[in-house]
């Protein structure tokens, strides 16, 4: 479809009944590699986390005896430490091209999964019941970030007939909460040993946690550099890649290598005083979801308005503990790491986490405009949007746009409709900025 804009958006035709792909993982793998190969060769490294994620899951599927299904907000460190292979079903929902994902969402509804369950999760349940993902030997989840996740974890466990281990996330963030979570992580390791017959190797656990620590430090440095103007990142898409890496690959060597390259690139750009492919005029913060069915829209916004994504909630990590190598302390570090992952932190506890984190990013990263792309089925975060809007405007004078979208399913809000929200908003921001400069 060629819109009135000089940009071509993807065309989706859901009137035809798409097939469920049973060799789904390889289909996703091919689709990702094909899409990346069409990009500028000098920029292809940016999408390496997506490639690593799907490659790892394909490798896991080839020998599913060691496969552990995990929730996306459970750190894979725990599984790597056991020498097992993590597969994150909702990660697959995200990596899956839209036209292949939609039939799985619909399939889950036929099995009485409610249509108001988050599409990341209903898509993954649809994949499971269609035998598109390998049957795991164990399932480890957390109760964070929300009820959707709790419902999905129990549904998957019930479908597979695999007794899960679900770590109950606390509401608060304090030593007592960390103690509670840590105790469950230790129990989780016992569960994995029992289910898989493998023993935890403390040296491997230590190495995994050191790499995880290193990844967090690198992300911290990169995020600090993003405060510079222009924001020294090649494209907004890299923020999404950071989130893919940090949610699903922390503890791995390939993530550390990729983040080192990202940091090196960011430092070089900062040194030269350059940003990405478009001139930076409006610094934006995507404080929640980022619709992923059509990426060209973000390039379009950069081109037309100079709207550069500087902040994306899922790539903004807080985490400090340095593990000493002692088992108890490693588990405690892992507990804090899991609890501080962005969506876990902002959704499982008091709404102030979401509000104050958003205000912090907008202030420290000199954000001009915040965007709350409200994933339709996200009950916990939709009920924070208005208060966040009030705080950002009252305290910082930063406007917030909120609109309903399904981050994965364009049938809810199409790309055109999204632009119908974004364009007037950015025009208003641009006009206000000019007025400020004149004034």
């Amino acid at each position: 479809m060629t819109s009135k804009r000089d940009i071509i958006f993807k065309e989706f035709d859901f009137s035809k009944k798409p097939e469920l792909k049973t060799d789904l993982l390889h289909t996703i793998q091919q689709a990702i590699k094909s899409a990346v190969s069409q990009r500028d060769p000098a920029m292809q490294w940016i999408w390496q986390p997506s490639i690593n994620a799907i490659d790892d899951m394909c490798a896991a599927a080839e020998d599913p005896t060691d496969v552990v299904l995990i929730g996306f907000s459970l750190a894979p460190e725990m599984i790597y430490a056991m020498g097992l292979k993590p597969v994150c079903p909702e990660g697959l929902s995200f990596l899956c091209p839209t036209e292949y994902l939609i039939p799985y969402i619909d399939e889950s509804h036929k099995a009485f999964i409610p249509d108001h369950l988050c599409s990341f999760l209903s898509g993954s349940i649809g994949m499971a019941i269609s035998n598109a993902i390998p049957k795991p030997v164990a399932i480890v989840h957390t109760s964070q970030p929300c009820d959707n996740s709790l419902a999905q974890s129990t549904a998957l466990a019930d479908f597979y007939g695999v007794e899960p281990y679900i770590i109950d996330s606390p509401y608060y963030d304090n030593d007592e909460a960390y103690d509670y979570f840590t105790a469950q992580i230790k129990e989780g390791f016992r569960y994995l040993e029992q289910m898989t017959g493998k023993k935890l190797d403390i040296d491997r656990f230590r190495e995994v946690m050191e790499r995880s620590q290193r990844a967090h430090e690198l992300v911290h440095e990169i995020n600090e550099l993003k405060k510079k103007k222009p924001c020294p990142i090649p494209t907004g898409a890299i923020l999404r890649q950071v989130s893919i890496g940090m949610y699903g690959q922390t503890g791995s060597e390939h993530l550390v290598r990729w983040l080192e390259k990202h940091l090196e690139d960011a430092r070089e750009r900062a040194r030269k005083g350059i940003g990405g492919q478009h001139e930076e005029k409006i610094r934006t913060a995507w404080i929640y979801a980022w619709p992923s069915f059509e990426w060209t829209v973000y390039d379009w916004l950069g081109k037309k308005y100079g709207a550069i994504p500087v902040i994306f909630q899922a790539s903004e990590y807080f985490y400090t503990p340095k593990s000493s190598g002692d088992f108890d302390e490693l588990c405690r570090s892992l507990a804090i790491r899991i609890l501080s992952c962005p969506m876990g932190r902002s959704s499982r506890g008091h709404l102030d986490y979401f509000v104050r984190d958003s205000a912090y990013w907008c202030k420290e990263w000199s954000i001009d405009a915040a965007i709350f792309a409200g994933h339709l089925q996200c009950k916990a975060n939709w009920s924070v949007a208005q208060i966040t809007k009030e705080v950002l405007m009252d305290e910082l004078g930063v406007p917030l746009l909120s609109f309903v979208v399904d981050a994965l399913d364009p049938r809810v809000t199409s790309t055109e409709q999204m632009l119908g929200y974004l364009e007037p908003f950015l025009e208003m921001v641009a006009e206000n900025k000019q007025l400020e400069q004149i004034g």
Partner: protein
């Protein structure tokens, strides 16, 4: 007024007249969100535990500024709306908990935007084992200390045991009423039973017990209900409104049992104390007939469903849920897998809205379900 009429009247008013009577004596009332919050502890602190309800909500306009009508349940929004319009200004405090995302956020917004004189958030674990039990005991201790400090009171073991005894009597009386519905021709309807349970959530328990005892006596003189088409079990309603039950009755069904928030889940299991009453309270609440918020609870609920379907000679199960309730929503997925094992027909999920209920649509579907049962 008969006891039943009095109870239904208490259920349908918010606040109900017991609030004014309590306040006139200079005593304090503390609201609470969910049945996992032990009322006994509040009662032992000399407080009137008043369950927050949506009764009286005429819409959700105020709440919809802060919560999204596209994905947040209308029950939580109705409650928040009442809070924002001042209906709950009589409360001296509010206890929130992590029952679900909707309720949790509604509580946070209420406290932030409207304010309450006293606020406590109780973290209740999502699973039941030794570790989480210890955690829940700690949480209850924190609540106890906070109540004592705020309301200048002291919760002794003696008065906690007394409160447990009173509420256990509530439960026993309710269970006995419910068991009446095992008869071929019970003397109380499901909708009436639902209202009776709702009344008890916001009536001082001693008064409630007196009313329940009167009701039990009055039932003996009530005409039996013999004219019905099918014996129905309702599975999954979370609201305080009995209109769904009435729709079933209007089309000739008789609701004989349920597994609902304001239903048997509330009173089926008594509190057992073996030693420390606070520990007994924690264990009993965490291990009672579980709500879908409990990760590990489906097998218990399913077993209970099978037992009740047998004991109450259920012809069919109406599976329902509040729109946007993910926790109850996934129950239908579990039930579908166990269709043969269950052995009792159940409906496809019937979605309800607490505000803006589409009674016509529900009536059509329920009637069709009952017709199927009759074939």
């Amino acid at each position: 007024m008969t006891a039943l009429e009095e109870l239904i009247s208490l259920a349908k008013q918010n606040p109900n007249p017991t609030v004014a009577a309590w306040k006139n004596e200079g005593k304090k009332i503390v609201g609470y969100w969910c049945s996992y919050i032990p009322r006994e502890l509040l009662h032992a602190a000399g407080l009137f535990p008043y369950r927050i309800k949506g009764v009286g909500a005429e819409g959700t306009t105020r709440a919809d500024v802060y919560m999204a009508a596209v994905c947040n349940c209308s029950y939580s929004r109705a409650i928040l709306d009442l809070a924002l319009n001042g209906t709950y200004d009589f409360l001296d405090g509010l206890i929130g908990m992590n029952e679900c995302d909707h309720g949790r956020r509604a509580h946070e917004i209420w406290v932030k935007k409207k304010g309450v004189p006293f606020d406590h958030f109780l973290f209740v674990p999502h699973k039941s084992d030794d570790m989480t039990l210890r955690e829940f005991e700690k949480e209850l201790l924190k609540l106890k200390v906070h109540l004592e400090s705020r309301f200048h009171t002291f919760v002794t073991d003696e008065n906690l045991l007394n409160s447990i005894r009173i509420y256990n009597e509530n439960r026993a009386l309710l269970k006995s009423l419910q068991e009446n519905m095992q008869e071929n021709a019970p003397r109380i309807k499901g909708s009436e039973m639902h209202d009776v349970v709702v009344a008890g959530e916001s009536t001082p328990p001693e008064q409630y017990n007196r009313l329940l005892r009167r009701l039990a006596e009055e039932l003996e003189n009530r005409p039996p209900l013999a004219d019905y088409r099918a014996r129905i079990f309702i599975y999954g309603w979370t609201g305080d409104d009995s209109s769904f039950y009435k729709i079933v009755e209007d089309v000739g069904g008789l609701v004989v049992a349920d597994n609902c928030c304001f239903g048997t889940r509330e009173f089926w299991d008594p509190i057992h104390v073996d030693g420390d009453p606070l520990s007994g309270l924690a264990a009993s609440y965490l291990n009672r007939l579980p709500c879908p918020r409990m990760i590990d609870g489906f097998n218990n609920r399913f077993q209970n469903l099978q037992e009740m379907a047998s004991a109450f000679r259920v012809d069919g199960i109406l599976v329902t849920r509040q729109q946007f309730c993910d926790l109850h929503g996934v129950e239908a997925f579990f039930l579908k897998k166990r269709e043969k094992e269950l052995g009792v027909p159940f409906s496809a999920p019937l979605i309800q809205e607490y505000v803006g209920q589409d009674a016509g649509r529900l009536k059509t579907r329920i009637e069709a379900f009952i017709e199927q049962l009759e074939r």
